[in-house]
Structures are given as structure tokens and as C-alpha cells.
Amino acid sequence: MFNLEKEIKKWKISLRKNQSLEDGYIAELESHLRDEIEQKVALGESEEAAFNEAKNSIGNSENLAGEYFKSDTISISGRPPWETPFWMPELVWNYVKVALRNIKRHKGYSFINIVGLSLGIACVLIISLMINYELSYDDFHEKKDRIYRVYTEINRPSGTMKMAPVMFPLAPEAKNIPEIEHAVRISESTKSVAYSEKIFFERISFADPEYLDVFTIELKSGNKNSVLKNPNSIIISEKIALKYFGERDPVGESFKIDNATLYNITGVFKDYPENSHKRMNLIASISSLNENNYARFSKWTSFGNDYTYILIKPGMDPKVARDKIENLVDSKLQEEWKQRYEMQIQPLKDIHFSTFLTYEFAKVIPVAYLYVFGTIAIFILIIACINFINLSTARSAKRNKEVGIRKVVGAGKFQLVKQFLSESFILTFISFLLALVIIYVIIPEVNNLVKTNILISDLLNWKFALIIFAVLFLTSLIAGGYPAFIIASVKPALVLKNSLIKSNKGYSLRSLLVIFQFAIASFLIIGTFTVFDQLDYMLNKELGFNKDEIIVLSIDDEELMKNPEPFKRSLLNNSSISGLTFASGSPASGSSWTDNIKPVDKIDDEKLHTQVLVVDYDFFKTFGIDIISGRSFSKNFLTDENEAMIINQTAAKKLGLQNPIGTKIEYWGDKVASVVGIVEDIHYGSLREEIWPVIFILNPTGNKYLSIKINTANSTETIDFIKEKLGEFSPGFPFDFYFMNEEFEKFYKAEMSIGKLLTYSTFFAILISCIGMLGLVSFLTEQKSKEIGVRKVLGASAGTIVTILSKQFIKWVIIANIIVIPLAFYFAEYWLDNFAYRTEVNYYIFITTIVVSIFITLATVAYHSLKAALSNPVNSLKYE
């Protein structure tokens, strides 16, 4: 039966619970309630209905109390005390205290978490620093946004070739285009540079005087407007100044170049920063070049190491400038060439990544590598986060009591989540500090490895402040978020009644995450193996000659070249020297001439772009290159000097000749020679490229490159001997040599750096995964100690126990490998396809990866599982 008075009393009690509702307020509300009920009853409603309606019309007691509180309080926020504040400074200290206590109490787990996270954060930051460094190329040029480089696109029926060089006479004409402020040339060649007794081969860049207006180069001495004005002027970097002059001021001195011409040193400039697409050491005035001493001086269809940059006027459209350059070039070319040459431009900042151009003289890297390493960095951080998630969820039961008590004294779920998040933030922050130490230690190593110039102070800018903040924030959110929700959702009643003892919460997620970790690690292992496989392939592939026994000398002495026989004979007297040859180039020298050739009876459009090597009689013998058909150059045929040509297999194939021997071929414009022999293909350059068609022309006298086949057993003495003989026969010229195999290795520097970087990344990924696994297995053995005890009592051997404990992990490893292998195979194939000559993806890699990862897993799991297996069951089964 409904009792109005009792209900009203109950209602009043419920109101009184709220401290803001004083007795007076409640009395007034009661009076209102009674008036309302009276009225409703008078209208014929039952007491019960009237009471409920009246109660509802007064409204929610908490809102009401809130309004009363607002009118009573002087506090600004107007937040009633029974609502939890969003921010409780008093509690923050408690959170920090509890977090630090937890870190201290569970040293092992904290260590694992902190080390894993700090390695992860360090990896991310170092890789970000590297990426930042690569992106910073050419940033130091003040006008970088307006500088473009012109490059050439050559369209032939056989395909399109894009190359960095452009026509030498282009720049002076392009200056007249209204959109262009300056057009400047860089023309490079290697020459011997002498000052008193010091003589070396140096790379000299001939440049227009405006070069110094376009690019930002700091002159230590000399006037910017005049240093490159006069012919035979040269400015040098501090490095070169030190090399030739020591501490003395070189301005006013002069260099003897090519043992013939004197160049006045008019200025010294600060060394180019490392992150410059091109670092020049000697810049000579381009007016030193003229019609007589420079073959390409006024040629519009001949290309060499001539590069052109343009500075676009502010606000002008570079596309318009490009179109005008194109028109300009067309106006200089004969009708049939107009379609062939297409001029393009690229922004200065793109040059460092322009891997698509041949004859590139800049330092370039594929932009894809930045993405790859960025991804790897993120993966490593994810691995570290997974450790954190796994360990925290696995151990969440340990904190149930704390959570229970906090909830009982009034903490809400959201508040607890905040607490655990702040805990993970504290851990992340400590890890970050440790990461800074790791970075500090590792940066010199990284710089050494990938030839960068990264400073730890690079971290001190707003960009990195943002990255660091994002990394810290995201890491603590990703790593701490899920565990925080798991832990915070504990039901206090169950915990405190002790009925929630063991929970396997998050087990399936945990296995998923561990599988993911292993998958990433396996992927990296496979990637590393593939890169090294390819490197190994490239370094050891049969090139068609023995690169290990050959040293190469640059010869600049024209007198010696005219009559090299006495010099050759005196060298061959040494028993360690088994052969030598003069040629216009040498494998891996990077130096080659090219020409467009055709059989005399073909039309122009069918010309073939080939390399041209001018060699002496001994070239094929010295390198051990087989003649496949026909014959080698021979002194018995007097006509060989002018009318014979030898081609390689590729050239024979590409020319499409049925019977090449005897075919007359047109080369160097108007010259004609008959093919007398075909030689086997050799790899003249990088294995990244297809073998070029090559034609060999005979020049029995000297040439720029002298390749000498020596016995490597006593190479030091032999080199000294060669040096002595060269000094005798060619006084006043530098002795400059290299081992050909070292030169070949230089081709694969990028792959080597990547291989090393991948090795390190893989190592860290595995290390962090193992650290996490170690934590997980130690927790699991602890949790299973009773089970192990019971099993041992029932007669299980230590071996069985270890098997039981490791089985789980092995299962995860195998699943991870099964998932990742097809993916890794696909990526490996994709990467290898960049190379013209590539290894196959070896199946042993996958088997090795599985074996290695199982082995690592077992090694990691072994210690704890053995300890558990060997422990005395009494200890775990004893019941206090």
C-alpha cells in the first residue's frame, strides 16, 4: 500500500545526501511538493501518481543542488564538490609517487619496458634525423626556391633517355629569356694541378661568374663580382688551400694546370657543407674555355660534363621559362634534331633524389629509401610498444588490489585510466631521456656508417620538438592506453573479495601482438639477407675479367702518350707485372666516351648509342677478354689503325647484324671502319645497369688510362716500382692510381650503407622483441609455477616442462613466419628488380630466417623455463 508520508520522508533523505542541499532548502522544496500533490489529488489523481509526477517536476536532485551550490559558492569554476574534477593537482603527485614506486618495486619489468622503449624511441629519432638530413640537402642556398637545373631528354626510336648534361652553349643564350635572372654553367673535368713540387689530379669545375650570385658560397677572400671574371682565374676551397699552401694565403699565387697553363688563384671559399648535392673544390672561370681548347664550346648536339642551372626571377613561372628554353634549343637545331632533344627543368631541392638521370654528377639517393627507413623506424617503435602492452596486460592482475581500493574510495574509471596513462607517460619520458643518451652515443657511428653529418643539436628546433612530443604522446597513449582500460575496468567487489585471482585477460590480443612482433623481425631478417645476397652477387660476379689484379693509373703527360713503348717495356721487365694497356677508359673508371653509330647503309634514325673505347693492341690480352669471332687488333694489319673496329656482343646484337664481320660502320660523324672482331661482353660499369653496346677503336700510342695487371702477392713493391718508373719517364706529373676492385665496390656504396643500416635495424628489432619475450616468459613461468609443481610431482621431467613452456612461443614464431614470408618474398623481388643483374631470392634465406628466429626464441625462453623446470616443486606447492 502506498504511504505518502513514508515516500516523502524517503525523498527527503535522498535529497539530504547531497551536502549542498541544506535543511531550509529541502523544507521549501517539500512544501512545493505537497502543494503540487494536493492540487493533483484534488483533480482526481491517486496519491502515488501525484507524488511521482510532483517529484519529477521538481527535477533531478543533483542539478538542483548544483544550482544551489552555484549561488552559494564564491569559487570560479562553480564545480560542486561531489563531481570529480578533471584535473586534481593533489593527485598528480600521488600518481607520480605510485608510478615511481611501481618502477622501483618491479625492477625487472621496468627495466624491460624502459630499455625497450628507449631503444625504440632512439631508433625513431635517429632515423628521423637521417631523413631530415637527406631532406636538408641544398637548404643552405638562400635562393634555393628559385634555382632549377636544366636537363636533357633524348628521344630515339629505341626509347627515351634522360640525362643531366645539357649543351654547353645553352646557358649564355638562355640568359636572354625574360623569366630567367641568371643561367649558369658548371663544366667539369679532371686535370693535373701543380704548385711548386705538389702535384695532384683534381676535379675542376668551370663556372660562369654569376654562379656565385645564384648559389650561396661564402668567399673567405676575394671579391664575389670579379673572382671568376677573367680567363684562367680559379677559386679554391679551404680544403684545397690547406692541401697545397698550408696556412699561407693562396690568393695571388697560381696553379699550373695540365702542366701547361697558369691559373691565378683569386679567392678562397668555405668548404661546401656535406649536405650539398655537389661539393666543389676548385672553381675556374668559364672564360678560360674557348673554341680552341674546348671541343663542345659551340656544339649544340654534343654532350659532356656540362651542366646548367637557372635562377628564375621572383614570381615568374618556371614552366614558362622551360618552354622558352625548349624553343631556344629548337631554334638552334637542324630540323631533324628538333624532335630528338627535349629540355626539362627540375627544382634544386629535387636533385638529391633524381635517380632517373644518367650522367648524373650529383650525390643522389632514391627517395624510396627514406620511406623504407621511416617505416622501419615506426615498426621498431611499435615492437617496443607491444612489449609494454603485453607486459602491462599480463601483469594487470597484480594491480587489482590497488585499483579496487582506489575505486572504493571514489575513483571513477576515467580517472584511473588517466592515472595509468600518466604512469605510462612517466615511463615513456624516462625512456626518452635514456634514448637521448643512446642517440648521443650512436650518432658518430651513424654518421660514419651512412656518411652523413648529423649533429645531436639538430634535434633542437620546432620541427623536432613537435616530432618528439608526438612520439612521446603517441607512445604513451598506444603503449599505455589499452592496458589502462583493462586495469581500470576491474570490479572492486570481486577483487576485494579475492574471487578474481588469475585472469587471462588480453591473452588472444597478446598472442596476436607477439606474432606481429616476430613477423616484423622476420621481415627485417629476410630483407637484410636479401640485400647482402645481392651485394655479394654484385661484388663477386664474373665481370668477364679479373678485377682484383688490376691497378689503374691516370696519365696526363702528352709527351709520354706519344711514345709509350720504352715506358711499357721498362715496366714489363718487372716479373710482377704481367700485362699493361693504354686506353681511353678503364672498367669502373666512370670515364667513357659515347657516340651514335650506324652501319653505313642504314638511315640516321637507326643510330645506336654506344660507348667508345680507344685502346691499344694489348687491351683484350691484359684484361683477358675473349675474341668470339674475327680477330683482335694486330700490328700485321696496317689498316687497323684507321679502318678497323671491334664491337662487343651487345653491340652486334643491337645493330641487328647477321654477319657483323666486315660490316662498315659510321662513327664520330664521318669516320668509317669495318668490324674485324667481336669480343665477349664485359661489365664495364655498375651491375645496376645493363651492359652497354661498346665499340673499340685502335690507337697504338698512349691514352689517358693505363691499366696494369700485377701479381697481388707483392703489390706494395710493385706499386713503388711503377711510381719510380713513371717519375723517370714522365717527370712533373702526378702519380695517381687505384685498385680496380675498390673502384667497383664504390658503385655499391648505397647498397652497402643500406645493408649496414638494415643490419642495425634488424638487430634492434630482434633485441627489443627478445627483451619483451623475456619479460613475458618470466611472467608466465611465475604464473604457472603451481602447474609446473604439480606436473613435476606427478613425474614430468625437466625436458617436458621446458617443452611445455617454449611450445607456445615456437608456435607464435612459426605462425609469424608463415604470414610474413610471402610478403617478404614479394618485396625482395621488387627490390632486386632495380638491378639489371640480380641474384635470385634464395629459399635458404627463408629457412635460415625460421631457424634463426626459433633459435633466438629458444635461447630467450631457455633461462626462465629451465629455472622453472629445475625448481623444487615444494617451493611452489607449499601453502602458507
Binding site: Y25, L29, H32, I58, G59, E67, K70, S71
Partner: protein
């Protein structure tokens, strides 16, 4: 329906005006408001009391507990001089807003429809 913000802003002058006609208690005040507005102006009944409390704290109304005919205690509210002045101020403000609105909308046929 009148929006929550407008209702909240108009509560004070409304109550003070009702009280200008003589002392009254909470329940009656609410009934008057409902009556006058024809249901257009509706609060959760309970919400009136914190407002009255605030008016009392600001000194615009004074209160006294009285026994009703049925022997129940009721809290009666009387407007004070300060309250009257406040009301006049409020009225001026409301009227000036009103006249501006009238000028703006008075000739607008779209509004009349």
C-alpha cells in the same frame, strides 16, 4: 518554446514583477508564470528555488516563513527596495531591446505572417 538561455535571462525580472504585486511563495510564483505564459515558458519546477535563493542573497527579495491555513510552513518572498530598483533597470533594458526589435521587425511583412 522559448529557448533555455532566454528563459534563464528573463527569470529574474519575471519573478521580481510578480513579487511587485505582493508577497508570494514559490509554488504560487510558478503557477503564475505558467498561467501568464500560456505554457510557452516552462522550467523544471525545482529550478525556481535556487534562483529565488540567489535573489535573496543579492538582496532583491526578503523572505519569511509563515504557517498556512492548513498548518504547513511556507517560505514567502517579498520584493525589497533594492529589488524594485533592479527591476526598473531590467525593465528599461528589456524595453529598449524590445523597441529595437520592433523597429527592425515592425515593417517586415514576413515577420507578421
Amino acid at each position: 518554446m522559448i529557448s533555455k538561455n532566454l528563459a534563464a535571462a528573463s527569470t529574474k525580472p519575471l519573478i521580481l514583477t510578480i513579487l511587485r504585486g505582493g508577497e508570494n511563495y514559490g509554488y504560487q510564483i510558478i503557477q503564475r508564470v505558467k498561467e501568464l505564459s500560456g505554457g510557452q515558458l516552462e522550467w523544471a519546477d525545482g529550478m525556481l528555488y535556487p534562483v529565488l535563493h540567489k535573489l535573496e542573497k543579492d538582496g532583491f527579495v526578503s523572505t519569511s516563513w509563515k504557517l498556512s491555513d492548513e498548518g504547513r510552513r511556507r517560505k514567502y518572498y517579498q520584493i525589497t527596495d533594492l529589488g524594485r530598483k533592479e527591476l526598473e533597470k531590467d525593465m528599461k533594458q528589456w524595453m529598449s531591446v524590445h523597441s529595437v526589435m520592433l523597429k527592425l521587425w515592425g515593417n517586415n511583412p514576413a515577420f507578421e505572417s
